[in-house]
């Protein structure tokens, strides 16, 4: 099966296994990438953010968000173990999580831009052939949207202070740069399999371009800052 798109819906893990190891591998790769990213999001960024928050309200919002990310991690992990995939979180996370968080500005820009990448990836999964995954993202997307709107609102608040502009601009430049690989390589055997099996519909470049477009709109339109050039192609 190469040319035709996989048309079906796959109701559960047993049905996935009945389709064969190729299907399980394709769904598994997507699920495991979220298992890692959600945990890295909770541990590497959000817990330090509780300490970086400028006031009690921000501290408690950051705490709620950290717990939600942890909850997302556990829910993706449950999907992975239903598929018979082992402990997935100990593998290395994507490059974006090597980024060291040192200021509140970086945290809120991160929620606005990097969580938007998570939203773009999850929105595509609303049509995924693997129904347990589809149902999970339906439940998680409202929380992920909240993270993005939290990030945007607090970034907008920061840029009302001209003194904060260089810091916000630098956070935008750095975070955009490290988020580009998040969508995968332009030439990707994995992505070919995802589309063949209806796990995803778009190429990695199409998803990357959509994310960059939505980010640009926020950074240039709302914040009045410069958005760095993003090449839709990326091959590592």
């Amino acid at each position: 099966m190469t040319a035709a798109a996989f048309p079906g819906e796959v109701r559960d893990a047993a049905a996935a296994h009945a389709l064969g190891p190729d299907y399980v591998r394709a769904v598994g790769k997507v699920v495991v990438s979220h298992v890692r990213n959600e945990l890295a999001g909770a541990a590497a960024f959000d817990e330090p953010a509780i300490a970086l928050a400028p006031g009690p309200k921000e501290k408690w919002l950051a705490c709620r968000i950290a717990m939600e990310e942890y909850g997302h991690h556990l829910k993706f992990q449950r999907l992975a173990s239903d598929l018979g995939l082992g402990e997935a979180s100990h593998d290395r996370a994507l490059s974006v999580f090597d980024y060291q968080l040192t200021s509140w500005a970086e945290f809120v820009v991160l929620k606005a831009l990097v969580d938007l990448a998570e939203v773009v990836l999850m929105e595509e999964l609303l049509a995924t052939s693997y129904l347990p995954l589809r149902h999970l993202v339906v439940r998680l997307l409202p929380e992920e949207h909240f993270h993005v709107s939290f990030g945007k609102a607090h970034t907008r608040e920061l840029v009302t202070d001209p003194a904060a502009l260089p810091l916000v601009q630098r956070a935008v430049d750095d975070l955009v740069h490290v988020t580009v690989p998040f969508f995968g390589r332009s030439v990707s055997v994995n992505n070919d399999a995802f589309r063949r099996w209806g796990v995803k519909q778009r190429t990695n470049d199409e998803a990357r371009a959509e994310w960059a477009g939505r980010c640009r709109q926020f950074v240039e339109g709302d914040l009045g800052l410069r958005f760095p050039d993003v090449d839709r192609h990326w091959n590592g």
Partner: protein
Amino acid sequence: MAWPLTVVDQDGRRVTFAEALGPGGARVQELLDALVRGAAEAGVDVDSLALMTPAGTVDLPLARVSLGEGVEAAGQVDGTWLAEVDRRRNGCRQALAAAARDEQMEAALHVAMLLATERLDPHDDADVDAHVASGARLWLVAGAVVSALSGADPDPFLAWGRLVAAGWWPVGPSDGRMVLSACGPVA
């Protein structure tokens, strides 16, 4: 998640969650039991517990307010008081790390957050105030778990842990009052 939890230990024996956590585990289990009972819990002396803050007992008039007023008051919470709560919270974590009990701490927080994140879930996914209240209560639950496990005596988070479990959000000293918000029953 099923509660109370039974855990299989290294030797394959079934033990309670409290036993698996080791010293302080019984206190953690009590806190989580109370959280699961939720607002149904009777005999909680709200007025006196509210004054026994994690940074010490305060002598302030108690103001019971709505969730919206609680969030407003949260913006003016006494910064020195908040820093002291943070200091004690971190102190308990450090004590556990120094005793090489990181694994037990992580297990306790993991289960506590599994139980609490759902129970203290903001009903409206876009309501910022509800997220502030939920986050504050999760922050207190995490503090109470770590404090209980560390064996701190007296336990600075005991009183407010009970209040959160019983459905309250103790906000903190704000504008000369001790502010307590009734954020509705724990779902």
